[in-house]
Amino acid sequence: MLEVLELFDRPAVLHSIYLIGSLILFFIGLYGLLAKRHLLKIFVSIEIMELAVYLILIAIATTPGETAPILSDGFTAFTSMSDPIPQALTLTAIVIGVAVTALGTSMAIQYHRLTGKVSVGEMTELKD
């Protein structure tokens, strides 16, 4: 039993699991984006794809055994700590993603209030 658990501590195994999971998420998002017509579902799909990308970045850049890159609890030097850049990048990307989604959903709400439509398939104002 313990050997199995130790297996999971090996970076390659752990990273593979993270990678498989996040890629599956990414393509679930892509499927949703291509298959669904409801505006909110489309935004949900876009969010899922985005989150999958963040997950890949964070998961693969961190090796098991590394600590958070913060000096506290007795740590006195920045050694064997995880790479701070992916965390900073993800923080930035999350905020940007939230901003875009908030704007998109607001537009969807307003569009729905004006026209009563909720599906991209029904958007025909711009066709001649």
């Binding site: 499927y31 298959a35 701070p84 930035t92």
Partner: protein, 257 residues
């Protein structure tokens, strides 16, 4: 399943094709990334940042990266949030034929909600401020703390229909924090010691690392970010609450979802 539909009605070809396409792409990415993409980047800039981090005297290396080394990204990120808040405010601003729907005053929130909010509000506010101020010492920072503060106000808005954040005041707060961020950046440019945009021009002795007053401009900038994020998210919440009103159409939308 009492009623048996023909097979082709239960699975549409379109859907199956899309699933096949996505599955194929997934397999392609998986084989590629599992073969080549499993190792964490070695000797990249991240390690160099860690090695140099102590010169900024900030105990939290992520904060150093976010606010100092890649502070320009953060300025951009704050700007994106600012743009989105502007856009949402523009979308939900009054007009559109009908007057902006007032929130339903008769629809009182229940007692648990109201009491719970009274209890939580100060605690949340305190937690938010703590997280913002300790951005350079512990996990968290301006973004996280700012969102917590905004959430505290959001709870107030839900629990008390008469509670409104004043948009004009929020605008001034946001404007103060945003221009403060840029001005801090420009001050870094002005001082000869740093001569770089967003340079850390205040003294930041390494000996003070781990104390509340340390790391020069980093906590100050993160405080401004916190104020700005709090004001912007608060404004977005306020806009969306004002926009929220029940119409028969939205019930239909919920059904279709």
């Amino acid at each position: 399943m009492s009623r048996r539909l023909p097979l082709r009605k239960r699975f549409r070809v379109h859907t199956l094709l899309l699933i096949a396409l996505c599955g194929w792409l997934l397999m392609l990415h998986l084989t590629l990334l599992l073969n080549h993409g499993l190792d964490a980047p070695s000797n990249g800039v991240g390690d160099l940042y860690l090695a140099r981090n102590s010169e900024t005297a900030s105990a939290n290396a992520v904060t150093t990266v976010v606010v100092s080394y890649r502070g320009f990204d953060t300025l951009g990120e704050v700007t994106v949030l600012f743009l989105a808040a502007t856009g949402i405010g523009m979308l939900f601003a009054g007009g559109l034929g009908a007057t902006p729907a007032l929130r339903d005053r008769n629809n009182h929130p229940n007692e648990v909600m109201v009491t719970g909010t009274r209890l939580l509000f100060p605690a949340l506010l305190l937690l938010g401020v703590y997280i913002v101020l300790h951005g350079h010492l512990s996990p968290g920072g301006g973004f996280q703390g700012g969102v917590i503060v905004a959430t505290a106000f959001f709870l107030r808005m839900i629990a008390d229909p008469k509670f409104n954040l004043d948009h004009a005041q929020l605008g001034w707060v946001e404007s103060f924090a945003g221009s403060g961020f840029v001005l801090f950046g420009m001050l870094g440019l002005v001082f000869v010691t740093t001569a770089s945009f967003l340079g850390n021009f205040l003294p930041h002795p390494v000996a003070a690392m781990g104390q509340l007053v340390s790391a020069g401009v980093i906590p100050l900038i993160y405080l401004l970010v916190g104020i700005k994020v709090g004001a912007e998210i608060g404004a977005i919440f306020q806009d969306m609450l004002e926009a929220d009103h029940d119409t028969p159409v939205s019930a239909r939308a919920a059904e279709e979802l």
